[in-house]
């Protein structure tokens, strides 16, 4: 099929981003056992941030490489401004990538709209408990599921079931720990991070260890919020562990009704979370942290070397891509 100069450029951009992102995600998937081991030795907040970065990096790198390498090269080398035939495989890839990105865009729009709608409903229906010193608003809600949750994207707020406040299931200290946990999510913009992970088109491959990068990040985000809530105090850690078990008993519903950053996807993960709280936070040693940082730096350097070694082939990459098939 013959495409105009502009359409050829658009086709090249789409295919280039799609191929680069898929390749990078596959590389991360293959290296996930090593990466997971390395990341596990880092403090949990760094662990969480790196896991998030690992998920957004393939798309960002693909966009940057396309924008700063592929497109300028095409603009520089392509002299034919008349319509030109493009390979069928290139067109097919462009269609697939467009559908993939379009689906992600629609899904993120739906999530944003529903989240905003739900946040407004909570604000309308809930009773505000906020006082001047707290930046995160708190609303109590009349709902049967006995939840504590951070809701919303802009100015997220904490929702607590009225039942939990009234029936004495949460002591004052337990409530303080629970609210600190949710405030930590708000402070570190975990809902925004989760949203961005839905906005960015990703392959969401299941890792060899059985989980996904998303799930690992959710676990780390929850652990990091636990650590922030506990503040290194064992009494708070035990209290949080007890509260989690007590609330889990009451909050069980038969089927997921929402996307949660709540990590407890299964019993084993929940048990690990509780163990972590009652074992007084095993921390990583500085030596292990240094070796992890060195290993990760070596990986980045290695990737740069691989790209550099491919540069002769990359000179004609735009033409090659357009005439695939």
């Amino acid at each position: 099929m013959a495409l105009s100069y502009t359409l050829r450029l658009a086709c090249l951009v789409v295919v280039s981003i799609g191929i680069l992102q898929t390749t990078l995600e596959l590389i991360l998937w293959a290296g996930s056992p090593v990466l997971q081991r390395l990341l596990a030795s880092l403090p949990v907040r760094q662990h969480e941030r790196l896991l998030y970065l690992l998920q957004v990096a393939p798309f960002l790198i693909a966009v940057l490489l396309t924008g700063f390498f592929c497109v300028p090269q095409y603009l520089h080398t392509e002299t034919n401004l008349a319509p030109e035939t493009v390979g069928w495989l290139c067109l097919l890839l462009a269609a697939i990538v467009c559908a993939w990105f379009g689906f992600a865009a629609l899904r993120s729009l739906r999530i944003a709209a529903r989240t905003i709608h739900f946040s407004q409903a909570c604000r309308r229906s809930g009773q505000s408990l906020t006082h001047a010193h707290n930046q995160t608003h708190i609303y109590t809600l009349q709902e049967p599921a006995n939840r504590v949750a951070l809701v919303g994207l802009y100015n997220p707020f904490v929702c607590i079931s009225q039942n939990l406040m009234e029936d004495g299931s949460l002591s004052a200290l337990a409530l303080d720990v629970v609210l600190d946990h949710e405030r930590s999510h708000a402070l570190h913009r975990d809902n925004w991070k989760l949203f961005s992970l839905h906005v960015i088109p990703r392959l969401s491959l299941r890792l060899p260890a059985g989980s996904t990068w998303m799930r690992l990040w959710q676990n780390a985000a929850e652990w990091a919020a636990d650590d922030d809530a506990v503040r290194g105090d064992s009494t708070r850690a035990f209290l949080l562990a007890e509260t989690l078990v007590a609330l889990t008993r009451r909050a069980t519903t038969p089927d997921p009704a929402m996307i949660c950053t709540g990590l407890v996807c299964g019993e084993s993960e929940f048990a690990v979370r509780i163990d972590r709280l009652i074992q007084r936070f095993p921390t990583s040693s500085p030596q292990r942290r240094l070796s992890t940082i060195l290993a990760l730096s070596a990986m980045v350097c290695g990737a740069a070397l691989v790209i550099a070694s491919l540069s002769p082939w990359l000179r004609n990459v735009s033409e090659r891509l357009l005439h695939l098939g």
Binding site: I111, R124, A149, V151, A174, N191, F238, T248, C260
Partner: protein, 163 residues
């Protein structure tokens, strides 16, 4: 006039205002454009029968259509009605603010506990309500926490624990 409900629960005595059975589960409060207009007419009018409501609507609708709409709003708990001379006189049961609050509560209840929908809302829940947890496992975790706390405090585990 065919303006009478077949449902005996919602069939009031002559001259006695009725609302849908209290204590029963109210239907969801999703309102259509026509329902909103009918509510607005009744709020401005105070109370009216089917004919009077039909006359004040922006578009001409069949008598039975207006009657069905009023009946639906009544069943949603948004209107109350009183039987006078074989016809129902309707009036708004809730203010606009109360309706909004009820709609919001319905939405929250549905999103938090309805298993049928997957509405994709960004929430950061303290605990996940996604799965049924084995109560034995939760019991074991509780006793584990108690013994860990006891070890930490250097004393025997408390018999009942809890937060």
């Amino acid at each position: 006039m065919a303006d009478s409900s077949k449902n005996p629960e919602t069939q009031p005595q002559q001259g006695e205002p009725s609302t849908p059975g209290s204590g029963s589960k109210q239907p969801a409060l999703g309102l259509g454009r026509r329902e909103r207009e009918v509510l607005s007419v009744l709020r401005s009018q105070g109370n009216a029968n089917v004919q009077q409501v039909a006359e004040r609507l922006s578009t001409a609708l069949a008598y039975t259509t207006v009657m069905t709409t009023l009946d639906r709003l009544f069943k949603k708990g948004l209107l109350q009605r009183e039987k006078k001379d074989r016809a129902f006189i309707y009036s708004a049961h809730l203010t606009a603010r109360e309706i909004e609050e009820r709609r919001a509560s319905d939405l929250i209840r549905r999103y938090f506990s309805d298993s049928g929908e997957r509405p994709d809302i960004l929430l950061s829940c303290l605990v996940d309500a996604v799965h049924h947890y084995d109560t034995d496992m939760l019991d074991q975790l509780e006793s584990k926490i108690r013994s860990a706390r006891a070890n930490y405090l250097g004393s025997d585990p408390e018999p009942d624990g809890g937060s």
